[in-house]
Subunit: 219 residues, 2 copies
């Protein structure tokens, strides 16, 4: 286990701080579908993703969802430790989209270090700025990009993540990622099918013309 | 001039850091309508608002706007110094909505202090978390609140800010705050007028039933 691979400022921590992390961190493997952090619940701690894939999303009172960002190998999840920041007034839910191996650093340990260490606090700043940038990108998408472009971008991204042009994904799940009703997704996917961009087949979406999907995404 | 009134961690800075701020900060008065920070331009520095009102907004390529948050007396504007954070990948525009008096701390001076001082870096963390929370609130509004509720909330907020139920504001300006086309605003305001919630009169919107507007906002 090499924390220095996950925490770029590892070398700027004191030996005591490094020891506190090593002694308190626990390794976990969470199965696909596990909700690691539930909206409104106490905070879990900082998560260091060793392998797998996490999804961070907003959940409305009536059960609607929208994906905020994803975390992959070597990413660090800050909002699983949002109690570290008093001014965070929102809740995100974090779920394992694939079986995920991670290190968990308890919030209390991380909090102590951040309070004392300027490099650690600045590292948290950069992590938050990076999450913030992803959310601002999303705001611009929702406000100013039409749904056909967002759907094309989503299908291409999923295809890249899965390493396949055949996606086993329901219209409802796509709707949850994009903050849209299932019916809207179905209508647009049928339009895509008529245009020869995808093929819909027994719970699968097959990308049949990636070049034109890409052109649509960037239009 | 008392920086300790604006910067809660003032007492945790070293005498050298305090002196660097005092010596480099400049007082400015910007007239209403001044764009202090333009999207895509170099960063100005940290702004401490002494009086007045600033608006931070997103601007699309084709000139559409949406208000992200506002800054009032004693607020500190971080995104006028977004160059302090490498991971910030978005641009906001900052404009004076009223004549505004402010202190400007150059980004280079603030950056040096944040790098060295854990309290300063943690303070920046809290500032960013608070801006982040406002943007997340906005995301939820856009996704999950219908436009009538957002418009009612906006009119009530404006009325509170102006200390008057008569607002000198065009439908186009309201649209810019809410990220919506002028026509959509006009249609909804006419509906509000029919319902007896507002009166539309020569470039003014007059709130005639605040109680019901509040009920609508919270519905």
């Amino acid at each position: 286990m090499e924390f220095s691979d996950y925490i770029p400022i590892w070398g700027k921590l004191t030996p005591q701080q490094q020891a506190a992390i090593v002694q308190s961190a626990s390794a976990r493997t969470v199965p696909k579908g596990t909700v690691i952090q539930r909206s409104g619940e106490e905070c879990v701690g900082m998560l260091l993703v060793r392998s797998g894939q996490l999804r961070s999303y907003l959940l409305s009172d009536d059960g609607r969802e929208i994906t905020l960002y994803r975390l992959f190998e070597r990413d660090v999840c800050l909002f699983s430790a949002s109690c570290l920041l008093q001014s965070i007034q929102f809740d995100v839910t974090i779920e394992a989209e694939k079986e995920t191996e991670l290190w968990l650093i308890p919030a209390a340990v991380a909090g102590e270090i951040i309070k004392e260490s300027a490099p650690a606090a600045n590292y948290i700043n950069e992590l938050m700025a990076s999450h913030f940038s992803e959310v601002m990108w999303l705001v611009e998408q929702i406000l100013w990009k039409s749904f056909d472009k967002r759907l094309a971008a989503f299908l291409l991204e999923e295809s890249a993540l899965e390493g396949s042009t055949t996606l086993a994904i329901t219209h409802e799940t796509i709707g949850k990622h994009l903050g849209t009703a299932r019916e809207v997704v179905t209508r647009m996917l049928r339009y895509f099918q008529n245009e020869g961009l995808v093929e819909l087949n027994r719970g699968h979406v097959i990308l049949t013309d990636e070049r034109r999907l890409r052109a649509l995404q960037n239009a």
